[in-house]
Structure formats: structure tokens, C-alpha cells
Symmetry: C2
Subunit: 252 residues, 2 copies
DNA sequence: CTTGAAGCTGCCGCAGCGGCAGCTTCTACG
DNA sequence: CGTAGAAGCTGCCGCTGCGGCAGCTTCAAG
């Protein structure tokens, strides 16, 4: 007893095209091929097709299915690995959905306030997108870079987001000072810088030398610089100057 | 001030290849192209790139991003739609992961019991894979088909799975009776069929005529038939014969 | 013998690039 | 001023899992 391709398609619910595809990639060759080139399937192939469809429905890729059917890998191992992937992907989407809904809320709020914000929120500038590279500027202080990496790896996505948001808010306030014409060593600016320094010190104490290295990074680290410049032209240099003035005045 | 492609790549963290791709698809053309064909980007492009990367990080597709940047669609609307998709996909993966972990548990159990089961569990045969088509055989009774559709739509994935598993268990017990050589109208077989009939009746009362239609479907509905045959050759006809004998003896 | 259904083999397209190959152009150094 | 090496360019193939053609052949029923 064998069936032509359309019959199998009707029985299984997949299209004939799919069955030809499975033949093409060697996943499910038909039981025999007539002298006319037509494909004929038997019960064994139906059973295999069922296995394939089960695994496919579970989200397993066709190449992995082929390995399972070929008994090159253990099905339990494969499923366990697949389960890990599924959970990881689900968690990723979950975090993504949360971020998107925050973005939506932010946008809605800013529209009510008169659209002072575009979707290009500074907290999502380059440095935010690639947090792993943020500490690259600290390569002169590898021991601290390592610690920072560990610290940021331990933070939850929410904490990371919150941190980015706060840093950005500071950058914007600083840009406002700059736009108002205050020099970098003006009192209100220095007050803000002092606040930043204290926050930095709350994590761990920062020697003057390293603080100055961070100041230099504001203009020299390409991603940082780009982030500052994207908020306001000249902001990177302004931040650096303010930090250097602060160090000269209070960290001497 | 403009930057060559590699510079932008370093600043933004994407590859030059990606930037060329974005140019190719019209998503981010460079500010100018030198007479040598080289691409040069300016601040405006950097800002756009940032927007692009933010949206891309949120999982928005490039074509949708292009529409948002071109202001052809409202960003809030786009994000709301995207959020729905994200949540739906997350839920799908969640259900999938749950199914996979049940499958893993089943496989582990069966291995301890001496591997009486392969991954090709009958509860995942064709009809299980396409539950939406199960009631297609009831097309002669459209009003009932509609009700069944509603009922199955209201069931949770767990309930559906459980139902499939139970039906399959019955099919296997029936196959054992058949393998033992009992005719379809033998007493133990009829007892099983009676149990099935009562279960069916618990959902809603089934007239004899419709019961016989269901019996016919066992051999005539291709997916059902395939499911029975995959468990044991001849099982579809055996089930049908048993049901018909039951109807003749007890529903007359 | 004819006709319509079903079969076949390609090839393009989809999203978002990665990774070549093969050629040209910039930049720095001697 | 010549040259090497880095960086630029334009294609084209590949991935996943098929859908959807086109163009031709073959089957099955009347």
C-alpha cells in the first residue's frame, strides 16, 4: 500500500510542496519513485512524517529533526537543549515587551507634555545599546573594568535601564546649562558634577587620576562622544571641561 | 564634519556591511557619496542610525522602521502593534516550552519503564497536530461542529493535551484487544466502547444517527484513519466495526 | 482520444545580514 | 615618488522553510 504525494498531503495537512522540500533536503525521501518520477509514500514514511511534524510543532529545526531521526543525537538531549532555547527566547521577548511598553508610556507622556521628545531618546543612544562596551574606556584600569563588568552583569534589565535613564537625564540637564551660556566651571554646573562624583564614589572610591581618565573618555571614547554630541553639539567637551575643572578645584 | 563608513561602524557598533545594507535598502543613505564611491555620514545620519538601532533592538522590522522614519505611520501605533506581536509570540513560546517539558518528562518516564514509547507518541499524530480540523468530519452537522469548535477554543492547551492523551490511551487499549484476537463485538471491547459513548454523552447528547456518522469517519476521514492506522494496521476499521456493533446492540 | 487534474523540475522571493571574491582607492612610510 | 597595507567598493551565494510561479509531462476518466 502506498500513496501519491497529494494523498499524503491531505492526510497529514502539509502541502505537496513541503513534502517535495523534505525530499529535497533528505529529511523524508519517499518509499519509492516511479519510473515517471512520481513520489510514492508508504506507512513507514507516514510514521516518520508524524515524528517530523511533532518535532516541528515543538519548534525544532529541520536539520535537528534530521539528526534525531538519523539517531545521530539523542532525542532527549535534543529536546532538553531545545527547551533551554525556548525558555531563553521567551524571556528575551518578555524583557523586550516590557521595554517596548515603557517606551510607549514615555512617548504618550511626552506627547501630552507637548512632544519635547522624539523616539530617539538619549537613553537609547549608542552606549545604551551596547552596554558591554561602556567600560572599554577603562582599559587602562583593567582591574576596575573587570569589577564594573561583573557589577553590570549582575544588574537586572530594569536596573540597567533605570541607570541609563538617569545618566541621560543628567546629560540633558547639563546640556541645558551649556545652552544657557554658563561656563563649565560655573557654580550650578559644578554642583551637578559634584553630585555625579558622589554617585560615582558611592559605588567605589575613585582616585583623581582615574577620574581624569573618565573625563578624557568623554571626548575620546567614540561611543561616549557620539552620545553626548547627539544630545547637543559640544556637550562632550563641555562635560570633560566641567569634570576637569571640578578635579582641579576640589580633588587637588 | 563627516565620517567614513568604518568610523560610523566603530561608533555605532554595527558592521560596515550592515551600513551598506541599510543604504542598499534605502533605510539609511549616507549624507554624500564621494566621487570614488565611498560613503560619508554626517550627524543627521548618526541620529537616524540611533533611531534605527533603538527600534531594531526593540525587535521592529526594518521595513517598519523605514515607515516610521518616513513618518508614514505613527510611531506610537507601530509600537503598540509591535507590543501585541511580542506578547503573542512570547505566549506562544511559553506554551511551546511547557509542551516540550511535558514531552521530556514522558520520554524520561518511558525510558525507565523500558522504552515502550518512541517520540512518535500517538497523541501527537496527525489529528493532534491539527486540532482545528478534527471536527471537519462533522460537516454534516454544522451546528454541532460550531459548538465543538467553540468548546475546543475555550480549552487551555493543557486540557487539549490531556484530552488527546486520553483518546490515544483508549486507542492503544483498543489496539490491544484487537491484537488479542477479540472480535469487535466481543464483550470487553463493547465495554470500552460503552465507556467512550458515555464520555461523549457527558458533553452533550448524541443521536444515534450522528454516532454512526462518527463511526464512519474513523475509516473515511483521512486524518483520523491515518491516526488509527499508525497505531495498528486495521485499527480504524476495528473501531468503526465496534461502534457500529454497539449502536446496533444498544442504541436500537 | 481528449481533457483536466496531478505530477515533475527548476527558479525567485521572504529578513537581515555574514562572508567571501576581485578590484580600486586612500594613507603612511621609506 | 613609489609602494605596501588598510579600507573602500560592487556583486554573488548562503542561511530557514517553504510559497508561488512557469513550463512541461503524465495519469485517469469519459
Amino acid at each position: 500500500m502506498d500513496w501519491p504525494i497529494a494523498e499524503v498531503a491531505r492526510m497529514s495537512g502539509v502541502t505537496a510542496r513541503t513534502l517535495r522540500h523534505y525530499d529535497e533536503i533528505g529529511l523524508l525521501p519517499p518509499a519509492r519513485i516511479g519510473s515517471n518520477g512520481h513520489r510514492y509514500y508508504e506507512e513507514r514514511q507516514l510514521l516518520q512524517l508524524q515524528q517530523i511534524l511533532v518535532l516541528r510543532a515543538l519548534g525544532v529545526g529541520l536539520t535537528e529533526i534530521a539528526r534525531i531521526l538519523g539517531e545521530q543525537v539523542d532525542e532527549l538531549d535534543a529536546l532538553r537543549g531545545h527547551h533551554r532555547q525556548l525558555v531563553a527566547e521567551r524571556d528575551r521577548l518578555d524583557a523586550l515587551a516590557a521595554t517596548v511598553s515603557r517606551t510607549i508610556a514615555d512617548l504618550e507622556r511626552s506627547r501630552k507634555d507637548g512632544t519635547p521628545m522624539t523616539i530617539n531618546r538619549p537613553e537609547n543612544l549608542f552606549e545604551g545599546i551596547q552596554p558591554a562596551d561602556v567600560d572599554a574606556s577603562l582599559r587602562d584600569f583593567p582591574e576596575h573594568a573587570e569589577a564594573a563588568r561583573r557589577a553590570s552583569a549582575a544588574m537586572s534589565p530594569e536596573e540597567v535601564e533605570a541607570g541609563q535613564r538617569e545618566r541621560t537625564a543628567r546629560m540633558i540637564r547639563l546640556a541645558e546649562q551649556m545652552a544657557a551660556g554658563h561656563p563649565a566651571d560655573a557654580e550650578p554646573v559644578q554642583t551637578m558634577i559634584d553630585e555625579e562624583y558622589r554617585l560615582l564614589g558611592a559605588v567605589r572610591s575613585v582616585p583623581t587620576e582615574e577620574y581624569l581618565a573618565i573625563a578624557r573618555s568623554c571626548t575620546e571614547h567614540e561611543q561616549w562622544s557620539a552620545a553626548y554630541e547627539a544630545i547637543a553639539p559640544g556637550l562632550a567637551a563641555y562635560q570633560r571641561a566641567a569634570m576637569e575643572a571640578y578635579a582641579a578645584a576640589r580633588l587637588a
